[in-house]
Amino acid sequence: MSGLTFNFDGGYAAFFAFAVLIIAGAVLMISTSKVVHMVMSMAAVFLGVGGMYILLDAEFLAFVQVLIYAGAISILMIFGIMMTNHRDAAAEAVKPLKETLAAVGALALFGLLFYAIRDADFADMGGGTLVPEEDNTAAIGMMLFHNQVLPFEIVSVLLTVAFIGAIVLAKKEAE
């Protein structure tokens, strides 16, 4: 795949399919009015991103993405929507100033992320590098539990704290 020769192989076909899924999902997410439809569009985006990970040889990440985002997070959001029992919001009057500011903010965020990602040096993460190989699940496991074990444990403690906090808050509300 060098230069401008366009070689239509399976990778390209899959890339276009996933790209269309992601972009269509993202556009629908903004343009539909019902919240459940928005969640569904978002689930489509998550699936598309999972597909992209497969094309990048990151199968483990891809299926974890589908499991956590397309599966768990989408269902969580749907549950949240159903529990809160609201009506479809009527279209609000659009304020030009607000819209301009939002557009500037979005562009600035994009620029920031783009710059940060372009600038990041993934080769030097401070604790060894991940060498993509045949079985990258094992490689990720080795990396997480050898070089990055401290951050990993801290994240799990953080999640446990958040979990217990949520239960405490829910209990208080119930009483």
Binding site: D9, V36, T137
Partner: protein, 337 residues
């Protein structure tokens, strides 16, 4: 993805993949048709009835007639339903159920996809069906359907956790997520080399959680006809309803295949002197046993209550499956270095 980019996709390749998909589809449809017949016969036999025996010889065409009836039935969509999601939900439920079958290996040579994260693929995709069930219940715009959908989702999420954790022990033992690799790791020659004995806790948790994932008796609360009319698919009729039923039975196929590969040694014979019988026969026997076991349970056990269901899942199965991982890891750390 070297295999994907190595050569341009030719029409021949596409046709080849498509045809194998069609073959698998036909096999699965045949399985579903006769699994339903078999289920009704087995339950009839256990309850001293005859079961279906009118349509065709021994009633063999009963399910075919039932399916035909469903297909030519009027397709109703409630006026106040969310039309798009109502139509989408059965399709969204079915696609993952069929897609997960791709990773199940039948013999050493006969398999569809040799994925090195096969187990994860199965778990990830089957979660999407839960989403479809909630959507179907919500889109019907009917309180019974919504309640059924919520219950179903709550049940499937609660039991997905112990299900996934219970197979982690198997993954620890075989050191791979590839289902073919997991079967290969059980090739000791004898049946005690299969994972179900060393992983007996994991196996028990897996079986219970799997039955609950399938929404089958004694965990068929989503369908509790006496309290919920029919669960999340009350408003569905005709072929859309058929799709939901098809999804359930395709998952029976998938879970039976998964249990066979993970715990019952896949295509391996139970003893070395039985090796002359081809692996596909062994796979089919174990597979059929699990399917029979599901029907047997349905004829034997009553349905349990929703609070008992949740208690069982979170207070018993989850700690047990966690203990199983801990024990397995401890054993490997102490004895198998």
């Amino acid at each position: 993805m070297d295999w994907l980019s190595a050569s341009p996709v030719t029409w021949y390749d596409a046709l080849f993949v498509f045809l194998w998909g069609v073959v698998l589809m036909l096999v699965v449809l045949g399985f579903v048709t006769y699994a339903i017949y078999f289920e009704r016969k087995v339950i009839g036999w256990m309850q001293f009835r005859r079961g279906p025996n009118r349509v065709g010889p021994f009633g063999l065409l009963q399910t075919v007639a039932d399916i035909l009836k469903l297909l030519i039935k009027e397709d109703t969509i409630p006026r106040k339903a969310d039309r798009l999601l109502f139509v989408l939900a059965p399709v969204l439920a079915f696609i993952p159920s069929f897609a997960v079958l791709a990773v199940i290996p039948y013999t050493q040579k006969l398999y569809f996809a040799d994925l090195n994260v096969g187990l994860l693929y199965y778990v990830a995709l089957s979660g999407i069906s839960t989403l479809a069930i909630v959507l179907g219940g919500w889109a019907s715009n009917n309180k019974y359907a919504l309640l059924g959908g919520m219950r179903s989702a709550a049940q499937m999420i609660s039991y997905e956790v112990p299900l996934v954790i219970s197979v982690t022990g198997v993954v620890l033992m075989s050191g791979t997520l590839n289902l073919r690799g997991i079967v290969d790791a059980q090739s000791g020659g004898w049946f005690w080399d299969w994972n179900f004995l060393p992983q007996i806790i994991g196996f028990a948790v897996f079986v219970i959680a799997a039955i609950s994932e399938l929404n089958r008796t004694p965990f068929d609360l989503p369908e509790a006809e006496s309290e919920l009319v029919a669960g999340y698919h009350v408003e569905y009729s005709g072929f859309r309803f058929a799709f939901f039923m098809l999804t359930e039975y395709v998952y029976v196929y998938a879970i039976a295949g998964l249990a066979t590969t993970l715990f019952l040694g896949g295509w391996h014979a139970p003893a070395p002197f039985l090796d002359f019988i081809p692996g596909i026969i062994w796979f089919a026997l174990k597979f059929a046993f699990i399917v029979f076991f599901l029907f047997w349970l349905r004829a034997t056990l009553p349905r349990i209550r929703i609070d008992q269901l949740m208690g069982l899942g979170w207070k018993l199965l989850l700690p047990l499956s966690l203990a199983n991982i801990f024990l397995t890891a401890l054993f490997y750390e102490l004895f198998q270095r």
